[in-house]
Symmetry: C2
Subunit: 190 residues, 2 copies
DNA sequence: GTCTATACCTGGATAGAC
DNA sequence: GTCTATCCAGGTATAGAC
């Protein structure tokens, strides 16, 4: 997202507000206040609120792809790449304890709304799933790569949900430790 | 909930709709249609929409306590009781794949809304947490009982979230299998 | 490209008849 | 205890001036 344009500011503000407050609960007034524009001005940039959500998801997909590429380029060994994935629970723990996982909570909300952008949002999970699966394949676990990827995704989602409910830092650290041990046991050839 | 009264019907319908559509997305019109009463009639039974949510949570807490007592009375050994907990992922898999876990998704939504009933909803998780912890204590894992309970809760939440996203029955069965294996490894003295 | 003003609707909530 | 009628706030969306 090239910084500067009003459209970009709208997407950025909407992204944060959708994460913190939920999509449905966030009104144009909220976004307008955050960006510092008038409500009427939205419709020069987007036709509907759903369009803003669509742009937010496109933005998140791009950011996610970039993050995965980053983890890949800065970690030679797939084992360390997967550890980088696990580590986001620690790196983002403050935000996760406050608002949950941005991917999981968005997909859950859109599922309840039976929203048209549900499939697009689910693609966020699919990105992680595919990427993790490829790392497990590289580690010689080709046959179970997808199952291992799904298990790791599920583990991180569960930690995020309970971290959000109980706001317990020690719990998050303990579970991250456990996930690291699980990973080491699954790919001992490291 | 004694069957029969209009108030009970409202709570029951609201419970289901809050689960399927989310709390905020469910309007009085939705509930009125489901129960077959007029909108104005609500206010004879409840002062506000929040009051309906409060009644729904009270109802869910009672049902949960009953379910836990049931698992306890119909399973002599704590190991089997914990297995009963894990098994709800299988028993309720159709609903979970459609709408997620009723506890996890409600707590997540209320957290985003910063809703006054957040603490009451979180108590649902606390019921499971305490009950599971007591079972692990009975199994001789007193020191780590709460951590084991939290881990199991997190596992089931993660499975529910991804089941909701990907609607994959095989995934749920695989993860339940895995949870059973984990349990057997944690309490081998069974 | 941004603003103000406003239309239109939905949703929660109230009043009062029956 | 249930209904109809209605109020009011807030939310999305539009029109049109600047």
């Amino acid at each position: 997202m090239a910084d500067g344009t009003t459209r970009d500011h709208i997407v950025k503000a909407a992204d944060e507000l959708f994460y913190r407050q939920g999509y449905e609960h966030t009104s144009f007034a909220h976004i307008a206040d955050a960006v510092g524009i008038s409500r009427g001005n939205f419709y020069h940039h987007f036709k509907t609120k759903d369009d803003i959500l669509g742009a937010v998801i496109v933005e998140r997909l791009a950011n996610t792809r970039e993050m995965l590429a980053q983890w890949e380029s800065s970690n030679e060994h797939p084992f360390d790449r997967i550890r980088a994935f696990i580590h986001i629970l620690i790196a983002n723990r403050t935000e996760i304890m406050r608002h949950g996982c941005p991917v999981g909570t968005l997909c859950a909300e859109l599922a309840k709304l039976e929203h048209a952008s549900q499939a697009a949002a689910n693609e966020l999970f699919t990105l992680f799933r595919g990427w993790l699966g490829r790392q497990f394949t590289l580690l010689g676990r080709e046959a179970e790569a997808d199952a291992l990827a799904m298990h790791l995704l599920a583990s991180s989602q569960g930690v995020a949900t309970l971290a959000n409910t109980f706001r317990d830092t020690a719990f998050v650290e303990r579970e991250v430790e456990r996930m690291g041990a699980w990973l080491a046991a699954e790919v001992p050839q490291h």
